[in-house]
Symmetry: C2
Subunit: 179 residues, 2 copies
């Protein structure tokens, strides 16, 4: 029986909040990860997501000083996720969906290449404007997420439990068991 | 050199809007696709996304009558994506990010299993309440997306172009070329 590596990657990905090894990330891998991000679909093909990989030690240091997350302090690279609010042909906005799909693609790409990461969004928000200034991101483009990239130095463990399948997925209608 | 099937899946996925073969989708595959969906991360682990796979012919027919999308008319199964607005520990909402990451996982899972699909969201919206009624989805849970599942009957072609990498991704800062 053949192994479905895509499903294996999806099921083994988890949010890693430990330390990273010091080993730098090859540019080839950072490029592949960002290519995976921009390969995600976008609402009305507006391609509202853009990305900056940071691997310059001085710049990394400055971002780590602005965003003092313990796990991120040891990361040898970051990918910063940027978004633009561009309206779709139907008058609706899909930029949040767009960057979320791009992030998920990148988390899977990282996992498949042997790296760990974690989706940092809410706690990046208070520091986003300062990091955006540092990177000279123009007005109209918002920094929404920071992804560390690195090889795990600690054990990769799933720290948060998930509800069982039966409470989140059904066939042909919702069965509210015990509700 | 070993092949990275996860990256291959990410790069070969595209929005398919053609007809589907009549072949039914094994429950095992629909289950694996939904498992992939709920394996996505969620903001503050709120797990706001839930899923309904539809493969019952009568129910499929009713949904197709409510949502007369030409490509979806031939699909042997749908996955309906549901969301709940549950606030995170930080006072922010991440349900859109959550369902988008779940959808991207499912699109990749489908591709890896030999199926095609397309992320239908905006044009499902006007029909969402009626489909939700049909499926007896309780108040407080919203139907936000419909994904057809099937084997392509037509050629799988990329119909929409994407901007080049250089216009969406950078290293160590944004280089505004020609802007």
């Amino acid at each position: 029986m053949s192994v479905n590596q895509t499903l294996d990657t999806i099921f083994s990905r988890t949010s890693y909040r430990g330390s990273f090894k010091e080993e730098p990330i090859p540019r080839e891998d950072l490029t592949a990860i960002m290519e995976a991000g921009i390969a995600a679909p976008s609402g009305c093909n507006r391609q509202t997501t853009s990305l900056i990989a940071v691997d310059d030690p001085k710049l990394l240091r400055k971002i780590k000083d602005l965003y003092p997350n313990p796990s991120c302090q040891t990361a040898p690279a970051f990918i910063l996720v940027l978004t633009q609010q561009i309206v779709g042909v139907d008058g609706h906005y899909y930029h949040v969906q767009d960057y979320a799909a791009a992030i998920e693609n990148m988390l899977l790409a990282m996992k498949s290449l042997g790296y760990e990461s974690c989706w940092y969004e809410g706690n990046v928000r208070p520091h986003a404007a300062q990091i955006a200034d540092l990177l000279k991101i123009p007005d109209g483009i918002s920094l929404v997420c920071l992804l560390p990239v690195g090889i795990a130095a600690d054990e990769v463990v799933r720290t948060k439990g998930k509800k069982p399948f039966q409470e989140r997925a059904w066939f042909n209608g919702m069965v509210s068991e015990g509700q």
